[in-house]
Structure formats: C-alpha cells, structure tokens
C-alpha cells in the first residue's frame, strides 16, 4: 500500500516508516501539515496517517480540508489527546480511526488491517479455516480437529476476530473495542479472562497452541 505519514516528531516518524516498510508498504513522510495537505490532494494514497498536533496546520484541519475537497482516502489520526471527546471530534472530522500516543506499533498495524480490509468483508465469508481450526460464521460453530468446541458468545467473537487476522498481533485496546464495543479501559481482566478461557477450550487438549500471548504487547493467533 502507498501510505502518507504526516508526523512532526522525527523519531516517532522514523519508527513508523521503518515498521510499515518492513510490512511491505511504501511510506512518504512529511513533517508539516501544509505539505501533507497538498501532497494528499493528489489522492494518490491508499492510507493517510496524520499526527493531530503539528506546527502550522494540524492533522484534524488537514483531514477536514481533504474531506471538504471530496478526497476520501482512509485516514488514521495519531494524537496526544486521549479523551473520548477528542476521539469523537476526530471521527466527526472524517477520520476512520484514532490512535492515542504512546501507541503500540502492532496496534497501528491492526487498525490499518481493519480499515483496509473493510471493503473485502462485503463478500460474505461463511467459514474460516486455519489448520485444523474451523469457524462457521453462519452456524456460529467452532470445531478443532473435527471435534466441536462449545464457546460462549464473546469467546466466539474473540476467536472470529483472531481467525480473521491470523499472524497479526492484536492489542488489548483493539480487542476491547472490536469484541466488547468498549471505548474505555474497564481496568479489569476482561480480555485476559476470556483469552484464557478460549485457550482452555481450543488449545489445551492439543500439542499445537494457536493463541499466543506476547507479554506486554498483545495476543496473536499463530497459523
């Protein structure tokens, strides 16, 4: 994908550029909002990553100008303002997603996946198969190695989220939003508890463990 990154902090920008390039994306980095606006006007990008606070023209204004000019390239706002209200303002301004600094790079990846995968989900996927793990979306049924596994509704949603993103690290924040619809941290072990229960059901009796915890980073389903 061709990505435009507008970020005034050079070190953060360098890490993001390096990380995204490592994923096979082409990244153009600009440090000023004005430059980013004129560059994005070309409409040549698959994704915009805009820092909300930049000297001169800030990210949200850039985005609003773009949307006013009918340029609807997907956009993610990076921000130091973490309040829910800021998030709402960002989303109203035309952002597809909103990430608060300091953020996990894997979270940025997870969100890019989600945004850029969106059109694909329109084709009805009825079944996801990864190795001997099989998830039937229509019947809400999960089998491993042909044996049916009984899952609670949230456990099913959690597994579905992982199976749609095999090999991609998912952070706690992303899971809370996607599986539980929570836009705040409940400060309790909601995610941990469900991961552990899900793991007991799909992994425990088998040698191969699909769900892996990356301490301090997140969780990943290893195909």
């Amino acid at each position: 994908m061709k990505i435009l990154l507008a970020e005034d902090d050079t070190e953060t920008a360098a890490y993001v550029v390096k990380g995204l390039s490592g994923e096979g994306h082409v990244v153009d980095h600009l440090a000023k909002g004005k430059d980013a606006l004129s560059q994005a006007m070309s409409g040549d990008y698959d994704l915009l990553i805009l820092d909300r606070m930049m000297p001169g023209l800030d990210g949200l204004s850039v985005l609003k100008s773009l949307r006013a000019a009918k340029i609807d390239t997907p956009a993610i706002l990076l921000t130091s303002m973490g309040a829910v209200e800021d998030k709402v303002a960002g989303l109203r301004g035309g952002a597809d997603d909103y990430i608060v600094k300091p953020f996990a790079f894997v979270e940025l990846l997870a969100r890019i996946d989600t945004i850029c995968r969106r059109p694909a989900t329109r084709d009805e996927v009825l079944e996801i198969v990864i190795g001997d793990l099989r998830l039937d979306i229509l019947k809400r049924e999960v089998t491993r190695d042909g044996t049916r596994v009984d899952l609670q509704p949230r456990e099913f949603l959690l597994l579905k989220h992982f199976m749609e993103r095999p090999g991609r690290v998912q952070t706690r924040t992303v899971l809370l939003e996607s599986v539980w619809g929570l836009h705040f941290d409940p400060k309790t072990s909601v995610v941990e508890t469900h991961i552990s229960r899900l793991r007991n059901k799909i992994d425990k009796p088998f040698d191969k463990h699909y769900l892996v915890t990356l301490h301090g980073v997140g969780y990943v389903l290893q195909p």
Binding site: D9, E11, T12, Y15, V16, G19, M53, S80, M81, G82, A83, V84, E85, V88, V100, K101, P102, F103, A104, F105, V106, R154, V169, W180, L182, H183, F184, D185, P186, K187, T188, S189, V190, E192, T193, H194, S196, R197, L214, H215, G216, V217
Partner: protein
C-alpha cells in the same frame, strides 16, 4: 438556587418604608404633646392674668365698677368661650356667666356637666372642659374660665396635617422603594443566572451590569473574576494539552524503541518478558494520565455529552455480561436485578457504562472473595437509579464523601491495585448527567447508587388485562 419569596431588596424597601412611617408618627406624636402642653400653659396664664386684672379693680373697693366690668367682658365673649364669676363675700351671691357650687382660689380644670352645668352655656359647640383661675379679694371671689376647645382644635389640625402628609409620603416612599427593589431584583436575578451558567461550565457568560451603584460595582468585580477564571481554565487546558504532548511524545518514542525488542525472536525470552513488563508500565502511566485529564475535563463541566434515551436495564445487562468472567475468575458472584418495566434516562451510554463498570470493578477490587455483587436498576420514588450492592467491607460513613475525591484511597485498600480515580470518575459522570452518586451502608457492604433526577419518559402504563 431557590430564593425566598421576598428578595432582600424588597424586604429592605419595605423595612425602610416602615421605619420612615414609625419615625414620622413619633415625630407627629411628640409635636402634638409639646404643642398642647404649651397651649394649655398659655391658656392658664391667660385666665390668671384676666382674673388678676379684675382683682385689681376689686381692690379699689367699688362693687358697681366691678360688676359693670364683668358684664362688659361677658358680652364681648362670644359663644361662652370665656366665663366670668364674682361671688360676693358677704351675701355669697354669685354674679356673672359662671355659676359655681363653691368658689375657689388658684388654677383648676372645670369639666362641663360635672363642675359646670351644660344649661349655663350658650352658643354652638359646647366645650368639654374649661381652664379656670380663682382669686380671693376683700369684696369676694373672682373666677375667670376659658374653654379648652381651641387647644383640642389646634391638636386636631396638627394630627390631620401630619396624617395626610404621612400617608402621601409613605405611599411615595413605598412606591419608590418597590420600583428600586424590583429593578435590583432583576439585576440580582441576572447575576444568579450568569453564575448558574458559569457553574454549569459556560465560562464565557458575563453579567454586564451597566448601572452606576454598588450593585453594578459588585457585578463588574464578579465579571472581572469570571474573566480571570476563564483565562485560568483556558490556560490549564492549554498546559494540559502541552503536557500531554510533551509527555506523550517521549513515551511514544520509548515505546516504539522497546516494542520491536519485545517481539524480536533474536532477543532471549527472559529479556523479552522484562521488556513486555516495561511496556505495560508505559501503558499504565499513559492510562492514569488519560484518566486524570478526563476527570479534570468532566469536572470542569466543559465536556459535551450525548443526550439519547438510555435503557438502564439493557446497559446493566451488558455491563454484567462483560464483567461476569473476570468476576468469576476472582471468585466473586456477579448478577443483575432488573425491574419489571423498562427504565430509561437521557444521557451518554458510553459514559454511563463506564461509570457503572467503575462501580462494579471497585466492588470486585475491595471485597475479599467470595463476595456477592449485584447490579440493580429501579426507581426510588420518581427517581431512576442504577446501583451496585456488595457484601464486602463497605466504607465507613465518615469516609463516604472523601472517597469521591481524586486519588483518595483509604488505608484499608492500600494493598488493592488501582489509581483512586474510579469512584471520582463515576461521580463526575453522574454529575454531568445531573445525577448523584450516593454511597450508603449495605449492612454489611457498600451500596453505590447513581440517582437520576428523572426518567427519560413516562414508562408505558400497564393496563390490567
């Protein structure tokens, strides 16, 4: 704020009018008293000097001269205003216009009908009393009396003029006081409205009183104070945005540097674990930071919130479902108790979910397992409530208000993880919804309720089938 039925300025105006009336009345009363005493004294001096001049005539020894003089005086006195008597010392025969039972010496007050028969008096209005003076001469007694009517009449005139001017002045002063009071009342009302609006977070409101008195002075000073408050809040907002930026930028770099190491296969497992723990600490720092900023913004009342109908029962069920697993894993029992009818309030579902979640998580953290935690939705009178009951250690009544303050953690809970912001955040969210967070003894345990002012709409009345 509820105000008394009569404002202070109205009461002040009425009190002023009352004081004015009382003052005028006492002044009138005193002048009446002084005036009638003065006039009575003059009347007495007058009758005495008349009696003395007749006595001087009597001293010449000429009885006929005296009688003629008395007749002349009686004639010149119209309407029995003055009465004269001569009582011969030898014959004791009274002569003149005054018939007395017994002659006397010195001053005396004679009452009509008692000392003087009414039939004696001629002319229009009869006086009630006379001032008299008697003198003993060689020829006999000389007594002169003059009626008091004009003293009383002068008094009446005084009372009448005082009364009519008093009524006029009182009406004018009450009217003027009411007009001023009404005007002041409107100005105080305006101050009230502005202060209420500022309290609700509209920091740009000003009184802008254009008068030129002390009230206007006060209003101007309140406006100045509000200017400073607004500037202060704005600068705090600016500072917190700056701090947010300056703190998060290095944290972001730190996290960016560490994260690839935590995921790298080349780094030993033990080190990756340590780096992962460091990442969790970074997340905890920024999480606490977010919570502080969010609380500050909620408490300043400057946060915009949604105002949709929120079904408390549905929300409680969702929160219960989400927290069920963590509660079970920590050894607690969590359930939800719903009313038969739907209860809705206007509000922001995300915020209210967070408040309820905080209350449940607070109960989970502070109760030693196994505790029973129950989310309850219901009505307390006309007020919908959302409550979390537990049977844990509870909060001592004296500390109930204190635990809602920022960062306050009671000694008993020092060992429990948490930032001390959960309850404050719930209280601030409740406040933003014009609701109150009430902490009560559940005997044993804690009962934390969010009490709303009113339901969103009247719940459908169930008709009997």
């Amino acid at each position: 704020m509820r105000r008394p039925p009569l404002s202070w300025s109205m009461r002040f105006a009425l009190a002023l009018s009352a004081v004015f009336t009382i003052g005028t009345l006492s002044a009138g009363g005193l002048s009446y008293l002084f005036l009638s005493r003065e006039m009575t004294q003059r009347l007495e001096a007058d009758v005495q000097s008349s009696a003395e001049s007749l006595a001087r005539l009597a001293a010449t020894g000429d009885r006929t001269d005296l009688r003629e003089q008395i007749i002349a005086q009686v004639r010149s006195s119209r309407d029995s205003a003055s009465l004269f008597a001569f009582v011969d010392a030898t014959s004791m025969q009274p002569f003149g216009s005054l018939q007395l039972a017994a002659p006397f010496e010195g001053p005396r007050r004679l009452l009509v009908g008692q000392d003087i028969p009414e039939s004696q008096l001629t002319g229009g209005e009869a006086a009630e009393a006379y001032r008299a003076f008697g003198m003993r001469t060689d020829l006999g007694w000389i007594i002169v009396a003059r009626d008091e009517a004009w003293v009383a009449e002068s008094g009446e005139i005084l009372v009448q003029t005082t009364a009519s001017s008093l009524v006029l002045a009182a009406l004018l002063s009450i009217g003027l006081a009411l007009v001023i009071a009404r005007k002041n009342e409107r100005r105080v009302d305006r101050m009230d409205r502005v202060l209420d609006a500022v309290g609700a977070g509209h920091l740009d409101q000003r009184i802008k009183d254009d008068g030129s008195d002390d009230l206007a002075d006060l209003a101007a000073r309140v406006d100045q104070m509000l200017d400073r408050l607004e500037a202060g809040v704005e600068s705090i907002r600016q500072v917190s945005t700056d701090v947010a930026h300056d703190l998060r930028a290095p944290l972001a770099r730190l996290r960016m540097r560490l994260e690839p190491q935590a995921l790298s296969a080349e780094v030993p497992m033990q080190t990756r674990h340590e780096i992962g723990s460091a990442l969790m600490d970074i997340d905890a720092i920024s999480g606490t930071f977010d919570a502080i900023l969010r609380l500050a913004r909620l408490q300043s009342g400057t946060v915009e919130r949604r105002n949709d109908p929120v079904d408390l029962g549905d929300m409680a069920t969702t929160v219960c479902e989400i927290l069920q697993a963590p509660a079970e894993d920590t050894g607690h029992a969590l359930d939800v108790d719903l009313p038969a009818t739907r209860i809705q309030v206007y509000g922001d579902e995300d915020m209210l979910s967070q408040a309820l979640t905080n209350l449940v998580v607070n109960a989970m953290e502070h109760c030693s397992p196994p505790a029973v935690i129950r989310i309850t939705v219901g009505m307390r009178g006309e007020q919908p409530f959302l409550a979390v009951f537990d049977n844990g250690p509870g909060i001592p009544e004296a500390d109930c208000a204190r635990v809602l303050e920022r960062f306050v953690r009671l000694d008993a809970s020092r060992s429990v993880p948490g930032t001390g912001l959960g309850l404050s955040l719930a209280a601030a969210i409740a406040d933003l919804h014009h609701a109150t967070l009430v902490l009560e003894d559940n005997a044993p345990g804690l009962k934390a309720s969010i009490l709303f002012a009113q339901p969103a709409a009247t719940p459908a009345v169930l008709t009997k089938a």
